[in-house]
C-alpha cells in the first residue's frame, strides 16, 4: 500500500512537471516543423509570459486565470511583432544565423527583464483554491499538480481537435509534411506561420506562468531550461503534437524520479537516453521520416 502510494505520488509529480514542459514546448515543435526555424528563443517567450503573470498578480492584483490570459495575449502580440519584423528575414538563412539570432534575442530578453524587474527570483502566489491537498481516494496529493495534469490533457485535446478537425489544422499538417507542395496548392504559408507562431508563443507564456510556481522565475530561466525544451521537441518529433506530449511526460517523470533517487548526476541518464533515442530515430519518436 505504502509502495503504491509512493509510486502514484512520484508519477503525479512527474506528470505535472511534464505537462508544463509540454505546454511550453508544443509551440516550438509546430513552428520548427513548419518552417524548420531553429528558434532557441522560445524559452524567452515562456519566461516573458511567466513574468507577465507574476507581475500582473503581485502588482496589479489580477486573478490567476486573468493573469494567464493577459500573458497569452501580451506574449502572442510581442512574438508576432518580432516575427513580422525580424524572424521572417531569416527563414531562408542557414541554421547558423538562426541560432546566432535567437541566442541574441535570449540575451536581450534576459537583460531587459533584469533592467525592468530586477535580477532576483520572483515568487508566484497560487490562488487558495489551488493551494491545498486533494483527496483522490487512494492518495492525498497537491491540488495544483492534479490541476496541471487536467489542464494539460484539455489543451492536448483542444490542439488535437484544431489539428484534425479544422481547416487551418489541415493546412498546418500539410505544410509540415511538404511545404513546397502546400504552397503550390495555394496555402498562404507566410500567414499560417505568423498565426502558429503567435499561438505557440502564447502557449509558451501560459506554460511559463503555470510552471513559475515550482520551476522558479529569474532572468536565467530562458537559458536554464532551454535544453529541456529542445529535448522534448527533438525526442517527440518536429511538428508532432502527440509526440511532444509523450516526450514531455516521459522527460518529466524521468527527471522527477532521478532527482529523487539519484540527486547527484542523475540527469546523466536523461542525456544518455536522448542520445541513444536520437540515434535510433533521428526524426524523433513520432516524427515522420524526412522526405
Amino acid at each position: 500500500m505504502d509502495f503504491a502510494a509512493n509510486f502514484a505520488g512520484i508519477l503525479l509529480g512527474g506528470l505535472s512537471a511534464g505537462t508544463v514542459l509540454f505546454i511550453v514546448s508544443v509551440g516550438l515543435s509546430v513552428t520548427m516543423g513548419l518552417m524548420g526555424f531553429v528558434n532557441l528563443a522560445h524559452g524567452a517567450f515562456a519566461m516573458f509570459g511567466g513574468y507577465v503573470v507574476v507581475l500582473a498578480m503581485n502588482r496589479a492584483h489580477f486573478g490567476f486565470a486573468a493573469a494567464l490570459a493577459l500573458a497569452f495575449v501580451a506574449t502572442a502580440a510581442l512574438s508576432v511583432l518580432l516575427e513580422r519584423l525580424l524572424y521572417r528575414r531569416l527563414y531562408r538563412a542557414g541554421e547558423l544565423d538562426q541560432v546566432l539570432f535567437t541566442i541574441g534575442l535570449i540575451f536581450v530578453f534576459m537583460a531587459a527583464i533584469t533592467i525592468v524587474v530586477g535580477p532576483e527570483s520572483q515568487q508566484l502566489q497560487l490562488p487558495p483554491a489551488l493551494g491545498g491537498q486533494l483527496n483522490l481516494g487512494f492518495i492525498q496529493y497537491r491540488t495544483y499538480s492534479i490541476f496541471l495534469i487536467v489542464v494539460g490533457l484539455l489543451m492536448l485535446a483542444g490542439i488535437w481537435l484544431v489539428f484534425e478537425r479544422t481547416r487551418i489544422g489541415a493546412q498546418i499538417r500539410a505544410t509540415v509534411d511538404n511545404r513546397r507542395m502546400a504552397e503550390s496548392l495555394g496555402i498562404n504559408v507566410d500567414r499560417l506561420f505568423a498565426i502558429t507562431f503567435a499561438f505557440g508563443s502564447g502557449m509558451a507564456a501560459i506554460g511559463g506562468g503555470l510552471g513559475a510556481e515550482f520551476l522558479g522565475l529569474d532572468p536565467q530561466y530562458a537559458l536554464k531550461y532551454l535544453v529541456y525544451f529542445l529535448i522534448a521537441v527533438s525526442v517527440g518529433g518536429l511538428g508532432s503534437v502527440t509526440g511532444v506530449y509523450c516526450a514531455s511526460l516521459l522527460l518529466g517523470v524521468l527527471d522527477f524520479v532521478l532527482k529523487l533517487y539519484a540527486p547527484k548526476g542523475g540527469t546523466i541518464f536523461i542525456y544518455a537516453l536522448t542520445i541513444l533515442l536520437l540515434l535510433w530515430r533521428p526524426q524523433g519518436l513520432f516524427g515522420r521520416k524526412e522526405t
Partner: protein, 346 residues
C-alpha cells in the same frame, strides 16, 4: 611512382600551373603580407602592455579555441553547440595529471590533452555525425552535458564544482618558470602554441582534404555523387578540431593553474560560437578578430555594467545575424570591395 608510370600523370606533374583554375588555386594559399599583422600585433602587445599579459594569454587561448571550432563549423559546416566538451576534456586531462602529480611537463601535457580530446571527438563524432540540422545540434549539446554530468558524478576524482586548484606545472623547456606569477612566460608559450596550431590549420584547410571539407559544407549531395567518403572526412575533421580544442583547454588549465566544471559548460560553448560567428567563420582570421573584439569588450564592460553588456551583446548578435551574415571580417570585405570598385570607376 605511379605518377611517373602514366604519361597523363607525368603531364599533370610537370605543368600543373598552366591552367587558369590551377593558378587561382595555387594563389589561394600563398602567404599575403597582411597575414603577418596579427603576429606582429601579438609581439607588440607583449612589449606595450606588460601588465595585461595574463589577459593576453586568455585572449590567445580564446583564439585557439575559436580556430578549432572554425575547422569543424566554418570549413566542414558541422553545426555544433557542444565544443566545450573537447575544451573540457583537454583541461581535465592536464588538470588531473598535474593535481595527482602524474605528469606536469607543459608541452607533452598539451599533447596528452590533445590526445584525450581527440579520443572524445572520435567517439562522439562516429556517433553524432550521422545526424544533421537540429538533431546534430541537440546531440552535440547532449554529449557535452553528459560529459559535464560525468565529471560532476566522478566528484571523488574531479572534485566537482569546487574544481582542482593550484596545479603545478613544470618550467617550460626546463628553464622558464610557468605559473600565474610569470605572465610573460605564459603569454609567449600560448603564442607559440597558437602559432604552431595556426600553421597546421592553415595548411590543412588549403590541402585537398580541406578543399573536400569545403565541398561537403557547400553541397553534400554533390560530394556524395563524386564518390567522396563524406562521413569519414567529417569524422576526421571533427577529431582534429576536437584535438585543437583540447590543446586550448589544456593551455587554459595550465595558465590558470585551475580546472573546474565551467570548462565543460554550455556557456563556454555558446561563447566560442559567438566569438567565431562575430569574427566571421570559414576564413581562419575570423577567430582572431572575433576573440579580440569579444574579449576586449567583455573584459572592460562586463565587470562594470554586466546587464548593459548582456543587452548590448544580444543586440549585436541580432544585428550580425540580420545584416552582417559573415561577421566583422565579412562586413569589412564588403566595404573594401565597395571602396575598391568605386576607386576603379572614378
Amino acid at each position: 611512382m605511379n605518377e611517373a608510370a602514366s604519361p597523363a600523370g607525368r603531364a599533370a606533374a610537370t605543368a600543373p600551373t598552366d591552367h587558369p583554375a590551377a593558378r587561382v588555386l595555387m594563389r589561394r594559399h600563398r602567404l599575403r603580407w597582411w597575414e603577418l599583422l596579427p603576429w606582429l600585433a601579438a609581439i607588440g602587445f607583449y612589449f606595450a602592455f606588460p601588465d595585461y599579459l595574463g589577459f593576453g594569454a586568455e585572449l590567445l587561448i580564446a583564439i585557439l579555441f575559436a580556430l578549432s571550432l572554425d575547422l569543424a563549423l566554418g570549413y566542414a559546416g558541422i553545426i555544433t553547440l557542444g565544443h566545450a566538451a573537447f575544451f573540457g576534456a583537454g583541461a581535465y586531462t592536464v588538470g588531473m595529471l598535474s593535481f595527482y602529480g602524474i605528469w606536469t611537463e607543459p608541452i607533452t601535457g598539451l599533447l596528452l590533452a590533445a590526445l584525450a580530446a581527440a579520443v572524445v571527438g572520435l567517439l562522439s563524432g562516429l556517433v553524432l555525425l550521422r545526424a544533421r540540422g537540429l538533431t546534430l545540434l541537440m546531440l552535440s549539446i547532449c554529449t557535452m552535458a553528459l560529459l559535464q554530468e560525468s565529471a560532476n558524478m566522478a566528484h571523488d576524482y574531479t572534485r566537482g564544482f569546487d574544481g582542482l586548484p593550484s596545479l603545478t606545472i613544470d618550467p617550460v623547456l626546463g628553464r622558464f618558470e610557468f605559473n600565474p606569477l610569470f605572465a610573460n612566460t605564459q603569454y609567449l608559450f600560448s603564442l607559440a602554441v597558437l602559432l604552431v596550431c595556426f600553421v597546421f590549420v592553415r595548411t590543412l584547410v588549403y590541402s585537398p582534404f580541406g578543399q573536400s571539407l569545403t565541398g561537403i559544407r557547400e553541397n553534400l549531395l554533390r560530394m556524395h555523387a563524386i564518390g567522396s567518403p563524406v562521413r569519414r572526412r567529417l569524422v576526421i575533421c571533427y577529431t582534429i578540431s576536437a584535438a585543437l580544442a583540447g590543446i586550448a583547454g589544456g593551455l587554459w588549465a595550465q595558465t590558470n593553474a585551475y580546472v573546474n566544471l565551467s570548462a565543460l559548460d554550455i556557456d563556454r560553448a555558446v561563447t566560442v560560437f559567438i566569438v567565431l560567428i562575430l569574427g566571421g567563420y570559414g576564413r581562419l582570421y575570423g577567430a582572431f578578430v572575433g576573440a579580440v573584439a569579444y574579449l576586449a569588450l567583455e573584459h572592460f564592460l562586463a565587470q562594470i555594467y554586466p546587464t548593459a553588456w548582456q543587452l548590448g551583446l544580444g543586440l549585436l548578435l541580432v544585428f550580425v545575424a540580420l545584416f552582417a551574415r559573415n561577421g566583422i571580417l565579412g562586413l569589412g570585405e564588403v566595404l573594401w570591395r565597395r571602396y575598391a570598385s568605386r576607386r576603379a570607376t572614378s
